[in-house]
C-alpha cells in the first residue's frame, strides 16, 4: 500500500522538524487539497467556498484548514461546504451548520464568548496595561527625579567612559 505524508505532518516536521512523528496518522491519503473535481462551476460560489474553507479546521489535522488539508475528512467537509453554498446558504449559515455538527473546535478563529474572553482580550489588554505602566512610571519618575549616576569606583567610571566615548 502506498502511503502519502499528510500535509499537516509535513508542516509539523518542516516547521520544527522536531515533533516525534505521529505515525498513527500516516493513513492512506491519496487525495490532495482542493481537487478540480470538487470545485463548483460558478467562480463566485467557488470563491466563497474557498474563503469559508480557510476558516474551518480539518478536525483530524494539526492546526490546518480544510482548504489546505489532504485528509479524507477535509475532502468531505469541503464537499459539504460546497453543497451548502450551492443550496443558497449564506456564509454564516454554512459555518453555523458545521459548528452545530462538529462543535466550536471546527473554527480556526474562535468566537468571542466567556471561555475565549481571555484569548481575545489578551492583545488589547497587554497594550493597554503596558501603556498604563509606562504612564505610571514616567509620572512617578518626573515627580521624584532619580539619582543620575550609579555608585561606581573611579576606575570603573574611567573604564565606562572609555567604552562609551566614541558614541555616535
Amino acid at each position: 500500500m502506498k502511503r502519502t505524508l499528510s500535509a499537516q505532518q509535513s508542516k509539523a516536521l518542516l516547521a520544527g522538524l522536531l515533533l516525534t512523528l505521529a505515525f498513527s496518522c500516516l493513513a492512506a491519503f491519496p487525495l490532495r487539497a482542493v481537487e478540480s473535481s470538487e470545485m463548483l462551476a460558478d467562480p463566485a460560489l467557488e470563491a466563497r467556498a474557498r474563503t469559508i474553507s480557510k476558516e474551518l479546521r480539518c478536525l483530524v489535522c494539526q492546526n490546518q484548514s480544510i482548504d489546505d488539508s489532504e485528509a479524507p475528512l477535509a475532502h468531505d467537509l469541503r464537499v459539504i461546504v460546497r453543497e451548502r453554498v450551492k443550496a443558497g446558504d449564506s456564509d454564516t449559515q454554512v459555518v453555523d451548520f458545521l459548528v452545530a455538527r462538529y462543535g466550536e473546535f471546527v473554527l480556526l478563529k474562535p468566537r468571542l464568548s466567556w471561555h475565549t474572553l481571555a484569548l481575545w482580550g489578551a492583545p488589547p489588554a497587554t497594550v493597554l496595561l503596558g501603556a498604563a505602566v509606562l504612564v505610571f512610571i514616567s509620572r512617578r519618575r518626573r515627580n521624584a527625579p532619580a539619582q543620575e549616576t550609579a555608585n561606581l569606583t573611579s576606575a570603573e567610571e574611567a573604564r565606562l567612559a572609555e567604552l562609551l566615548h566614541d558614541q555616535s
Partner: protein, 661 residues
C-alpha cells in the same frame, strides 16, 4: 566503540559543566581569582567534550553504524553523505545534541573572546551557562540517549523521513538553534548581573553583540524554514501560524525588543530593569519553544500525559530556570539604579513604543499558542486557534510599529522633534500614498486592505532611505562630501537602516503574494493547456527518473507567455521512497524577477489525468530577500568596531579594567 566514546565524552562534559557551574560562583563570593578564572578553562573544556560527543554521533551516522539504535531508526546507507550527516539532527535525540553543542559553543566563545569582561561578570555568566548545559546534558543522558546499542545489529537502517531529505535540513535547524540558544548568553549575563546586584551601560555594550548575533541567526533560521515549507509542501504557503513556528517567532519578537532596549541602555543608561527582564524572557521563550516542540504536548495534551518522561523533564528545567530567574529578578531588580531621564517624544520614547508593541505581539502569539492547551487541560473543552485568529490580532499590533519605525531613528536622544521628523518623512509619506494609489488602481477585485499594506511597506522602506539621506546630507551637499559622510557613518547606523528596509521588503512580499497571488487547480491529460496570469502551461507527459534512494515520477510542462513564445519548462514530481514506502511532492519553481511560477502535481488518477496545482506568486521572493537584508543589517552592525568584543582597540580598556579589579 565510537558510540561508547561519544557517550563517555558526554558524561565528562556533564562533569566539567558541574565544575564550571559551581567553582567560579564560589570564587566570586570569596573573591578568589583562581576559582573565577576556572570558568574560562572549564567552558572551553566543556565545549571540547560536547563537540567530541557530537562528532562521535556524527561518525556513527556517516559510517552507517546500524548497531546504534538512533542511527538505525533515522538513517539509511543508500542516502547521500549530506543527508546521512544532517539526519544527525533530524530526530529528537540528535537535535538535543545539536542544542547542547551550540550552547557549549557560545560558552566557549565567551570564554575565548570575552577577555575584556570584568572577571566577576564573566565567571558568573559562564557559571549560569554551565547550569543550563548541565540540565540539558542530564536530560539527554537520562531520557534521550542517542548512543544506545541494539544487541543484534540490523543490516539496514529505517531511513530518514523523506520530507527531511532536503538541503533545508542542513541549514534550518542549525541556524534556528544558533538563534534560540544564542539568547542563552544574554540570559546568563542578565542572571550574572542580578547575582552581582549591579548593572551599568557597559553591560549592554557587552551583551549587544551576542543578542545581535543570535537575532541574525534566528532571522535566517525562521526565513529558511519558511522558504523550505514554501517549496516543499506543494502549495506555496510560507507561514502557517503553526505552534512550532510560533515557538520560534516568540523568541524572535522578544529578541528584537531586547536588541532595541539594549541600545537605550547602552547610550542612555536607561531601561535597565526592563532590558534585564527582556534578556530573561527571550531565552525563557526559547526554552518554552523547546518544551513545546520536544515534549509532544502540541500533538495533544493526552499524548503528553501518556509518555511524559521527556516532557516532564523539560518542564522541570523550564520551571527551575524561568521560575528561578524571575524570582531572582523580582528580588534583585528593585536594587538596580534607574538611569537617564527622557521625554516621551525622543529616540528613547520611540524605542519604548517599539518594545511595547513587540512584546504585546509576542504575548499575543504566546496566548494564542497556549490557550487551546490550557483550556483543554482546565475544562476539557477543545477550541482551535489558527491563522485567522493570528492574522486578525497580530496585524493591528504591527501597524503602529510600522508607522512609528521610520520616526525612531530621526528623533534625537532625550528630547526629540516630532514635527521635524514628520517633515523629513513627508517624502516617504507621499511615496507611500502614490504606491497605495497605484496598487489600488492596478488591482482588479483584490482585497481592499492590500493597497494600504503596500503603502506601509513603501513608507518603511522610504523611511530607512531617508534616515541614511539625513545622516549623509546627500542631495544637499556635494556628492563627494556626502560620500565621505556616508563612509564615516557608524556601521550600526547603516545596520539599523538596512534592517528596517528589510522589514519593508518582507512586508511588501507578504502583501503582494497574499493579495494578488493566483492559482489554477486542474486535472490534465498530456497535451492539455491551462492559462494563469500571462502564462500558458502545457502538459507534455509523465516520465520516470531514478534518484539515489528514491524514484521520481516527473511531469514535464512547457511554459509560454500568453503571447506565445516558450520561456522554459517545469518538472514537478512525486518522489517515492521505497525504504519507508512514502511519497513526497517536489514542486517545480520558475523565477521571474522576484515573482515565481509554482507548479506541483499529484498522483495520476485512474482516468489517466494528473492533478495539477499551478500558482503565480507575485513578488514572493521579497519575503526572504527582506530577511536576508535584515541579516546583512545585523552583520553590518556587528562589524562596528565599538560593538566587537575583544576588538584590538580595547587593549587600553582592558588595562583600565585590570586596574579596576
Amino acid at each position: 566503540m565510537i558510540a561508547e566514546l561519544g557517550h563517555y565524552a558526554l558524561m565528562l562534559a556533564l562533569g566539567v559543566a558541574l565544575v564550571q557551574g559551581s567553582m567560579p560562583i564560589i570564587g566570586t563570593r570569596s573573591n578568589d581569582t583562581a576559582l573565577m578564572t576556572m570558568a574560562t578553562a572549564t567552558a572551553l573544556a566543556q565545549f571540547v567534550f560536547v563537540a567530541a560527543s557530537f562528532a562521535a554521533l556524527a561518525a556513527c551516522y556517516v559510517t552507517s553504524d546500524f548497531s546504534v539504535l538512533n542511527v538505525y531508526e533515522n538513517s539509511n546507507s543508500a542516502m547521500p553523505l549530506l543527508y546521512r550527516l544532517t539526519s544527525v539532527w533530524g530526530n529528537h535525540e540528535g537535535s538535543m545534541m545539536l542544542w547542547i553543542l551550540i550552547l557549549a559553543f557560545f560558552g566557549a566563545l565567551v570564554a575565548a573572546f570575552g577577555n575584556n569582561l570584568p572577571l566577576k561578570l564573566k565567571a558568573n555568566a559562564l557559571a549560569v551557562q554551565a547550569w543550563i548545559a548541565a540540565a540539558f546534558q542530564l536530560f539527554i543522558l537520562l531520557t534521550s540517549n542517542p548512543f544506545l546499542r541494539i544487541a543484534d545489529a540490523p543490516f539496514e537502517g529505517r531511513d530518514l523521513n523523506p520530507i527531511l531529505q532536503d538541503p533545508g535540513l542542513a541549514f534550518h535547524p542549525p541556524f534556528l538553534y544558533l538563534g534560540y540558544v544564542g539568547f542563552s548568553i544574554a540570559f546568563s549575563f542578565a542572571i550574572a548581573a542580578l547575582l552581582e546586584g549591579r548593572i551599568d551601560a557597559a553591560w549592554a555594550r557587552w551583551v549587544r553583540p551576542w543578542v545581535l548575533g543570535a537575532w541574525m541567526c534566528l532571522t535566517l533560521g525562521i526565513a529558511g524554514g519558511s522558504f523550505w515549507a514554501y517549496y516543499e509542501l506543494g502549495w506555496g504557503g510560507f507561514w502557517f501560524w503553526d505552534p512550532v513556528e510560533n515557538a520560534s517567532l516568540m523568541p524572535w519578537l522578544a529578541g528584537t525588543a531586547l536588541l532595541h532596549s539594549a541600545v537605550v541602555m547602552e547610550k542612555r543608561n536607561a531601561l535597565k530593569v526592563w532590558t534585564i527582564l527582556l534578556a530573561i524572557l527571550a531565552f525563557s521563550l526559547s526554552l518554552i519553544g523547546t518544551f513545546l516542540v520536544r515534549s509532544g504536548v502540541l500533538t495533544s495534551v493526552h499524548a503528553f500525559a501518556n509518555d511524559s518522561r521527556r516532557g516532564v523533564f523539560i518542564l522541570a528545567i523550564l520551571v527551575v530556570f524561568i521560575g528561578g530567574a524571575l524570582s531572582l529578578y523580582a528580588w534583585r531588580a528593585p536594587l538596580l539604579k534607574q538611569g537617564g531621564l527622557f521625554a516621551p517624544i525622543s529616540r528613547e520614547g520611540a524605542l519604548v513604543l517599539n518594545n511595547l508593541f513587540l512584546t504585546s505581539a509576542c504575548a499575543t502569539v504566546f496566548v494564542g499558542t497556549l490557550y487551546p492547551l490550557a483550556l483543554e487541560a482546565l475544562t476539557g473543552e477543545k477550541i482551535s486557534v489558527g491563522p485567522p485568529f493570528f492574522n486578525a490580532t497580530f496585524a493591528p499590533l504591527f501597524i503602529p510599529l510600522l508607522l512609528a519605525m521610520p520616526f525612531g531613528p530621526l528623533l534625537g536622544w532625550k528630547r526629540g522633534d516630532l514635527l521635524g521628523a514628520a517633515q523629513r518623512l513627508v517624502v516617504a509619506a507621499i511615496l507611500a500614498a502614490i504606491a497605495a494609489a497605484a496598487a489600488f488602481a492596478l488591482q482588479r477585485g483584490g482585497p481592499v486592505l492590500a493597497p494600504f499594506g503596500v503603502g506601509f511597506a513603501i513608507f518603511v522602506m522610504a523611511g530607512a532611505l531617508i534616515d541614511i539621506a539625513e545622516r549623509t546630507l546627500v542631495l544637499r551637499i556635494p556628492l563627494g562630501a556626502a560620500l565621505r559622510r556616508a563612509a564615516g557613518l557608524p556601521r550600526s547606523a547603516w545596520g539599523a537602516a538596512f534592517a528596517h528596509f528589510g522589514i519593508g521588503v518582507t512586508l511588501f512580499g507578504i502583501v503582494a503574494v497574499t493579495a494578488w497571488g493566483s492559482e489554477r487547480i486542474a486535472a490534465l491529460k498530456p497535451g492539455d493547456t491551462i492559462e494563469l496570469a500571462h502564462y500558458r502551461l502545457t502538459f507534455d507527459g509523465l516520465f520516470n527518473r531514478a534518484g539515489a534512494n528514491y524514484r521520481d515520477s516527473v511531469g514535464h510542462f512547457s511554459v509560454r507567455r500568453t503571447g506565445g513564445d516558450l520561456i522554459g519548462a517545469l518538472e514537478p514530481s512525486r518522489r517515492m521512497f521505497p525504504s519507508r514506502d512514502m511519497a513526497t511532492t517536489e514542486a517545480a519553481l520558475m523565477t521571474r524577477g522576484v515573482s515565481q511560477l509554482y507548479l506541483s502535481i499529484g498522483d495520476p488518477t485512474p482516468q489517466g489525468t494528473v492533478p495539477v496545482r499551478f500558482y503565480f506568486k507575485p513578488q514572493v521572493l521579497m519575503i526572504w530577500l527582506g530577511a536576508l537584508i535584515m541579516f546583512a543589517g545585523g552583520a553590518l552592525s556587528l562589524s562596528d568596531r565599538r560593538l566587537r568584543v575583544g576588538a584590538p582597540q580595547s587593549a587600553k580598556a582592558s588595562a583600565a579594567l585590570q586596574a579596576a579589579e
